[in-house]
């Protein structure tokens, strides 16, 4: 894992002091709320419905055990004892007081954490595959490049007042777990004809009120050239992105309106002028960063552990958890353990202070001190010995952290919705809880199979409803919440934007509607077919029929 050196630490310390001064100037009245707003936003502080909200950065979703425990400490000290992990692999605290936020940031800085660029019209926290460095299907570990992107984008003086926010995601695996094609820039590692590893660059993806799947601007950019290429893209966006209308200011709109071919020409022309400049990264420097993310000291093990097999035989609950939440590791004898933050009937992505502290301890004990946050709002211990899985599971189980539902119908993404968010038009959390309860029985979930439900409480789509196999969008119709259903969305390498099924449903009707869709799927699926596969095969009509009949 990357550890800060004195330069990184100094930068965070200076930023912490700078923000403390900005808060003091706001409280003294020297800064108006209007002038303070972009400053606090650049540091992850939002004014929500009931209180300020602090969003803390988890760069590329990677934490060590000490950092995880500190997140728990922050929850206990400055919040009401819990935090909320988000689709951006970050964590949000919903109840801090403005005058205490500088202290919270100072506490975070002691473990190399901060809230830099977790909001504002700048380059946001870079996200990646939660299994980076552990996955068996990986071409190369994407984290060294994520760290270089973190540094390049942190306080970038030219790109701090962009037309709108800007998100970059990276995958090192052909199986995209980071939804890179719905980001402003998506980077997918692959090998070119010469056998060199580089990146396919897609641009203009995004969700929100105008969803787009990103388009390829360049099939291959070499590692040394990645940063000049990113700078060229950002410069084109900063200069030519729309600033006349907030709702048309995202990069995806520019790419859509100008067209990918013309944008490509602008980017390539700009890049030609800067590619041999100081942003070119040498092989030596890349090697330094790859070394920072060297694999931990794995033991040489047999892949099969007899004791592990016996435990599965003896404990069906453990076996179920292994089947759903444990994933193949590239190192024999090790496994990737997913920790579901979706207990049946719970709030997706929430964790208590005690749970965070426990996960930090378990990471140190079982996973080389490595924890990941996923964009699907779960946690991961990426490097667990198979022989340790049973003890790990028992500890998780004692803390309500062993729900065996990864990728199933109750593993729902939901935004905070109208319970917290100033932008929301409807509640998301209670609906996700009701769906979770309706399908809570694990056997039923396993029978349904992989199914991704994603819920957003407004058109801004923080809950990724556009890319849910079943997406739910909460809206407000004359003071009443109602929910629009989309089908066929997909955030993977087969990225697709879901289609609206028809008229929305009331809060009372919507869970029945979801159940009707699932029942129809079970009736018409072929063997081994997931919901999304069935939808792709049969289209919207059979599903529309159960939702609306002859309507």
């Amino acid at each position: 894992m990357y550890r800060y050196d004195d330069f990184d630490r100094q930068l965070v310390a200076e930023r912490t002091a700078q923000f403390r001064d900005q808060v003091a100037r706001r409280i003294s009245g020297e800064l108006t709320e209007d002038q303070f707003k972009p400053l606090r936003l650049m540091n992850g502080v939002y004014l929500q419905l009931h209180a300020y909200m602090l969003r803390v950065a988890v760069p590329y979703g990677t934490l060590n055990g000490e950092q995880m425990r500190k997140l728990g400490y922050i929850a206990r000290t400055y919040d009401k004892g819990y935090g909320h992990f988000t689709t951006r692999q970050n964590i949000q605290y919903n109840w801090p007081k403005l005058n205490e936020i500088p202290d919270a940031l100072a506490d975070l800085a002691t473990v190399e954490m901060h809230a830099i660029q977790t909001s504002g019209n700048c380059i946001r926290n870079t996200t990646t595959d939660q299994y980076a460095g552990a996955a068996a299907d990986e071409i190369e570990d994407p984290r060294p490049y994520c760290e270089l992107i973190r540094q390049w984008s942190t306080f970038h003086p030219e790109f701090t007042y962009l037309p709108r926010k800007f998100k970059i995601a990276v995958t090192g695996s052909p199986n995209d777990r980071a939804a890179v094609r719905v980001h402003d820039i998506g980077l997918r590692m692959h090998k070119n004809a010469a056998g060199e590893t580089g990146f396919e660059v897609t641009i203009g993806g995004g969700l929100g009120r105008t969803p787009f799947v990103g388009k390829t601007v360049r099939d291959f950019i070499g590692k040394n050239d990645l940063f000049s290429y990113l700078e060229a893209i950002l410069r084109v966006y900063n200069r030519f992105g729309r600033r006349d209308n907030k709702y048309k200011a995202r990069f995806k709109i520019l790419v859509h309106e100008v067209g990918i071919d013309d944008i490509r020409q602008q980017v390539e022309e700009e890049w030609a002028k800067i590619k041999d400049g100081s942003l070119r990264v040498s092989d030596d420097e890349i090697a330094q960063y790859i070394a920072q993310f060297a694999p931990p000291a794995f033991e040489e093990l047999q892949d099969n552990d007899p004791e592990f097999e016996r435990r599965k035989q003896a404990h069906p609950d453990f076996a179920a958890w292994v089947r759903s939440n444990v994933i193949a590791h590239k190192q024999p004898g090790y496994a990737i353990a997913n920790i579901s933050l979706k207990p049946i009937g719970g709030i997706p992505g929430d964790a208590t202070a005690a749970q965070m502290e426990l996960v930090g301890d378990l990471a140190d004990q079982y996973s080389f001190g490595d924890v990941r946050v996923t964009h699907e709002q779960n946690l991961v211990l990426p490097h667990v010995k198979k022989a340790d899985l049973f003890s790990l599971w028992a500890e998780l189980n004692g803390a309500q952290l062993a729900t065996a539902n990864l990728g199933f119908v109750t593993d729902i993404i939901a935004c905070p919705g109208l319970d917290y968010c100033a932008l929301a038009t409807a509640r998301s959390i209670p609906l996700s809880q009701r769906i979770s309860e309706r399908f809570g029985d694990l056997e039923r979930q396993y029978d349904i199979g992989e199914l991704k439900i994603k819920i957003s409480g407004c058109i801004n789509a923080c809950g990724h409803h556009h890319v849910g196999h079943i997406g739910i969008l909460g809206l407000d119709k004359r003071g009443k919440e109602f929910y629009q259903i989309t089908l066929g969305g997909d955030a993977s390498q087969d990225a697709a934007i879901g289609k609206i099924a028809g008229a929305g449903f009331s809060e009372a009707e919507v869970v029945d509607a979801i159940e009707a869709l699932i029942t129809r799927y079970i009736d018409i699926r072929t063997v081994g077919e997931r919901f999304i596969d069935t939808y792709r095969r049969v289209g919207m009509d059979p599903f529309k029929e159960v939702l609306y009949g002859d309507r």
Binding site: E14, Q18, P38, T154, P157, Y161, N238, R243, G277
Partner: protein
């Protein structure tokens, strides 16, 4: 209002001309829009007296490239501090075209953006505050940070280059 440059408050020695008013024969330093510069290119270049151009968002800094050494002032307008186009213009003028004269940020120029402007090549700031207050704000802003990750063409060493230097020194010491 005050203009801060090189750690001093300076007098404004420029006459900003709109696109209609006549150009003084000689002597005075004049600041014109990009449109007027393009329309009256030859006479403005031939004239005695300093020549400055005001860029507003949407203007192309490329239009100044051929005459870059003729300007003693390029002012870049930030109509609102949230409009960041001027940062790109600053870097293009300094780093691509090698502009050496004064580059002045005008408009909604606030304390918390000055460090970014400085890193993008600006060396003068037209602030709404008066003399000493403006000067203190610029000084404080430039003190906020001492670690920089991006190479931008200002003279600041980046964290990356300092690490490189340190590694080289360690290698030298160990061999």
């Amino acid at each position: 209002m005050a203009i801060v440059k090189n750690d001093c408050v300076i007098d404004n020695e420029w006459v900003a001309l709109d696109d209609e008013s006549s150009v003084p024969e000689s002597g005075a330093n004049v600041l014109v829009s990009l449109a007027r510069f393009k329309a009256e290119h030859d006479s403005l270049i031939a004239r005695n007296g300093g020549l400055g151009v005001l860029l507003v968002p949407g203007d192309a800094p490329e239009d100044l490239a051929d005459d870059i050494d003729r300007f003693s002032l390029i002012a870049v307008k930030f109509p609102a501090y949230t409009d960041g186009r001027g940062y790109s213009y600053g870097r293009i003028l300094r780093e691509r075209y090698g502009y050496k004269g004064e580059m002045r940020a005008v408009g909604d120029v606030l304390r918390d953006q000055i460090l970014y402007m400085h890193r993008c090549g600006f060396d003068a700031y037209e602030m709404a505050d008066d003399g000493d207050v403006a000067l203190e704000k610029v000084r404080a802003a430039l003190r906020d940070m001492t670690v920089y990750y991006q190479p931008t063409g200002d003279d600041r060493a980046t964290a990356g280059s300092l690490r490189e230097r340190r590694r080289a020194a360690l290698d030298g010491a160990s061999s």
